[in-house]
């Protein structure tokens, strides 16, 4: 019985998750070909061992070398790291006060506030990003509003720039930052702050010395939950970013769908994976530590 | 002192021809490096109310879980009714357990909780209904049958747990600290109810508890455990009056312990405890040799307190009253002897407190009979 329980999901994930990565690796070592599928070599098992040998000898690191030679790719990686880091920081800046205020609100308000944060999360991600197109474009709502109030005299170009991407990322990923921080802050014993004040702390000091350190697990979790997916984000830079917005997710997509260069796209994916491994392991380790600390 | 000569007293363990219901044969249980049960052998007879008593971590719960089938011995054999239980899972044993947290199914009514085990056996609806009604009547919860666990009080939940575990009329019922969650008054009432139900149904009960009062009240025999081993297995009276070790003497009830050397050994034992004082006389414990270091154990309620030196008792010591405690029904006197030890003496308050004879700092004499104390090996 136990074997069945483990076996079925295990096999599923093995076939549909692990094996595909092996294939991506293999294709990243292949060459582009005007064929269906558009890469070579393909493994012809019918040729027996000779076929297998021929297969392996045709694989090479050509695509990886190509990635290092063309500026586009390493710039895209760096740009993605930069955008992801800045966005995570901005999301933290916006999300922390909200989470903090929610945790400090009266008991009976909290479920309602929680629901207000979760509702956007359940709403389609695509639609919420789309909303910003209408707001940030030159004829968009924001420009109309600013022109009408006289703050500016010429419409601002925000759409199709990195700024729009930042706004989009912060907007979409905000619930992912708020929820873990809120969960951590809510568990915090209010009497800790009272004890601090009793011992002579001012409100600000109590915040810096008590609240912030205790909120750390939530903050760290929130940052990972924003940073890691943002690195490979495609939709937001595609819809809100410009042609000079370099993000690796977009590059991968374009290599694959526009250039039909599957081997290169695969190589891009492998490198992205390698870059991500460190944050992912750190994230898993962080979750482990938190879980053990709670027990 | 075995209860011999009285035919109507329940002592199957003294009967050579009696077959035990449970035989625990050289059972050891290890969790990694930690030995929870260390080579324990024990026989439990049908219709006993058997208590496993000890502090947390002594292994009593592990032993009980092995009886229930939730743990398997690392070595040794557990047999129930002559059948080796090594390969029998918990759902196939004629053993039921009453869990410490009650483990009532929150999504089922009281009625359905009790019926759960009966339904697993495939009994037809009428038989199930009849049995459930019978159990509800036994624990006096008939009018709460339709309620869910969160809609009844803690004491009522405990009774549902009991009814559910008895519904299948198991040969053996295991009770894991069943009264821990109840307040003192309810606990005492429930103890007697449990004993009643046990006698009425004729089921063998094995109860795990750290509360020695509870064990002493309900059990026909008590097994005092420590560090995975059985220290003493006897009736409550014997455990109390004739503890086989300092550990047992100290664990059960209050006891005064005075250290010394065995000065004489015969029908009684004498312990030299202080220079220039007559040795204390008491009953000898096991394996004593003359000249050996030993401890004198005397229970507070066996000690008499007087202002004048009692002439008719060999065991008498003098000291100053250090502390007096008033507990309503008892008074306790802590008397400091000039040789060092502080002896606690307990007297029932037969008259009102204004007429107390002694007060702090008084010089008093403490005395007890020759057979009231024990000399135990160190």
């Amino acid at each position: 019985m136990k074997r069945l329980l483990i076996g079925v999901p295990f096999v599923w994930l093995f076939v549909l998750f692990l094996v595909p990565f092996g294939i991506v690796l293999k294709i990243s070592l292949s060459d582009i070909d005007l064929a269906i599928p558009p890469y070579t070599p393909t493994l012809e098992v019918s040729d027996g061992w000779a076929g297998v040998a021929a297969f392996f000898s045709a694989l090479d690191l050509e695509n990886y070398i190509f990635l290092t030679s063309d500026d586009l790719y390493w710039k895209a990686y760096l740009s993605s790291l930069q955008i992801a880091s800045i966005s995570t920081f901005l999301t933290l800046l916006v999300g922390f006060p909200i989470a903090y205020a929610m945790a400090r609100a009266a008991e009976e308000w909290r479920p309602a506030l929680l629901m207000l944060v979760i509702l956007p999360f359940w709403t389609s991600f695509l639609i919420r990003v789309y909303a910003w197109i209408g707001i940030l474009s030159t004829e968009g709502f924001l420009n109309q509003f600013l022109l009408w109030t006289g703050v500016i005299s010429e419409p601002l170009t925000i759409l199709n720039t990195n700024t729009a991407v930042y706004i989009g990322i912060v907007y979409t990923y905000l619930p992912f930052m708020i929820l873990p921080i809120y969960a951590t802050l809510e568990k915090m014993d209010a009497s800790l702050l009272e004890a601090a004040e009793d011992l002579g702390c001012s409100r600000m000091q109590a915040f810096w010395l008590i609240t912030l350190p205790l909120a750390r697990p939530g903050v760290v979790a929130g940052c990972f939950l924003v940073f890691i997916p943002t690195l490979g984000e495609f939709v937001i830079p595609s819809l809100l970013g410009g042609s000079d917005t370099l993000m690796i997710g977009k590059v991968l997509w374009e290599e694959f769908f526009n250039n039909r260069d599957w081997p290169v796209a695969s190589a891009v994916a492998i490198i992205l994976l390698l870059i991500l491994i460190i944050p992912i392991i750190l994230f898993q380790r962080n979750q482990q530590i938190n879980k053990e600390a709670q027990q | 002192m075995a209860a011999s000569g009285k035919d109507d007293v329940f002592t199957p363990w003294t009967d050579a021809g009696a077959t035990p219901l449970i035989r625990i044969d050289q059972v050891t249980k290890r969790f990694g490096d930690f030995t929870a049960i260390d080579n324990v052998s024990l026989d439990i007879y049908p219709q006993e109310f058997f208590a496993l008593l000890g502090p947390s971590g002594c292994g009593k719960t592990t032993l009980m879980r092995m009886l229930g089938g939730f743990e398997t011995p690392s070595s040794g054999v557990i047999s129930i009714d002559g059948q080796d239980m090594s390969s029998v899972p918990p759902n196939k044993r004629a053993v039921n357990m009453m869990f410490q947290s009650y483990a009532l199914f929150p999504h089922l009514s009281v009625w359905d909780n009790i019926a759960f085990g009966l339904r697993r056996d495939g009994l037809d609806k009428d038989r199930v209904a009849a049995r459930v009604e019978e159990m509800l009547k036994l624990v006096q919860l008939s009018q709460f049958a339709k309620r869910k666990p969160h809609q009844i009080s803690g004491g009522q939940r405990q009774r549902v747990a009991l009814a559910r575990s008895l519904a299948k009329a198991p040969k053996l019922l295991l009770l894991d600290e069943p009264l821990g969650a109840l307040d003192k008054k309810l606990r005492q009432e429930t103890q007697f109810e449990l004993m009643d139900i046990q006698e009425k149904t004729g089921t063998t009960f094995v109860i795990v508890t750290h509360d020695q009062e509870e064990a002493m009240t309900v059990a026909s025999r008590v097994a005092v455990m420590n560090n995975g081993q059985l220290i003493q297995v006897e009736t409550p009276e014997v455990i109390y009056e004739q503890p086989n070790s300092i550990y047992v003497a100290d664990f059960i009830g209050d006891v005064n312990l005075i250290e010394g050397t065995v000065s004489a050994l015969g029908e009684g034992a004498e312990l030299a405890w202080a220079e220039g004082r007559t040795p204390l006389i008491g009953q000898p414990g096991a394996a004593l040799t003359k000249g050996q270091g030993a401890t004198f154990a005397i229970r507070p309620e066996k000690i008499a307190i007087s202002a004048d030196e009692p002439q008719d008792r060999r065991n008498r010591v003098q000291g100053k009253i250090l502390d007096i405690g008033y507990l309503g029904n008892l008074s306790t006197y802590h008397v400091e002897l000039p040789e060092g030890p502080v002896v606690k003496c307990e007297i029932g308050n037969r008259s009102r407190i204004e007429r107390r004879d002694f007060t702090w700092e008084d010089e008093v004499w403490l005395s007890w009979s020759d057979t009231a104390g024990l000399v135990l090996a160190r």
Partner: protein
Amino acid sequence: MKRLSAFNVVSLTLGFAFLYIPMLILVIYSFNESKLVTVWAGFSTKWYGELLQNDAMIDAAWVTMQVAFFSSTLATVLGTMAAYVLVRRGRFYGRTVFSGMIYAPLVMPEVITGLSLLLLFIAIGMDRGVLTIVLAHTTFSMCYVSVVVSSRLISFDDSLEEAALDLGASQFEAFRLVTLPIIAPAVISGWLLAFTLSLDDLVIASFAAGPSSTTLPIKIFSSVRLGVSPEINALSTIIIAIVTVGVLTASIVSKRQITRRLQEEAQAG
């Protein structure tokens, strides 16, 4: 009653304004007469009409619903199995690999998951269509379900399962009659989460879909790349409305249940 400081009130107001104003604008402009989405020309519901006559859109919506339903149901079954195994059965051979595989898709960028799945389908010669999208969605949803269910299982009192076994239930009966009914809310949340993720997914569906099968997000995306369109606003409003009703209902129902339960417990004494 604790009063919030002014700073906190401002934080909350600004925060929620930031979250909701864009959606509000979207909704308002769906009723705009003009095709130029952001220039208000008067109130009209004509775009809703156009939307309902847009067959391609409706087909895509139908495909999306089917995919979401099947993939979330399958994902719930698999995810619950995985959660049960990880929480209940402590050690087993291959546990690290297994738990790694369960949690990795959560943090994996969708472009990578999508690409890898597409390459798999091609390598084994499977035609891309609705089935491949279902397979793809099941794979990544399963992980989310597993997270939700395992966090519920961790706080689940396992003496309840032991009690069921003690009373004669088999392992499967114990799960079916005791564990499952009690963790049902978490399982349902997992299903809803998987359903929403599938409904909303663009990237993986783009990789896994065939030429003949389009999902709603794919259609929306291709339309949106060309610029804003009031029909999309109308569609968005409908989606927002459905989600709002759903979330509100769930909130109210769960609040009522909790209140009623607290009352019952208080009365029981």
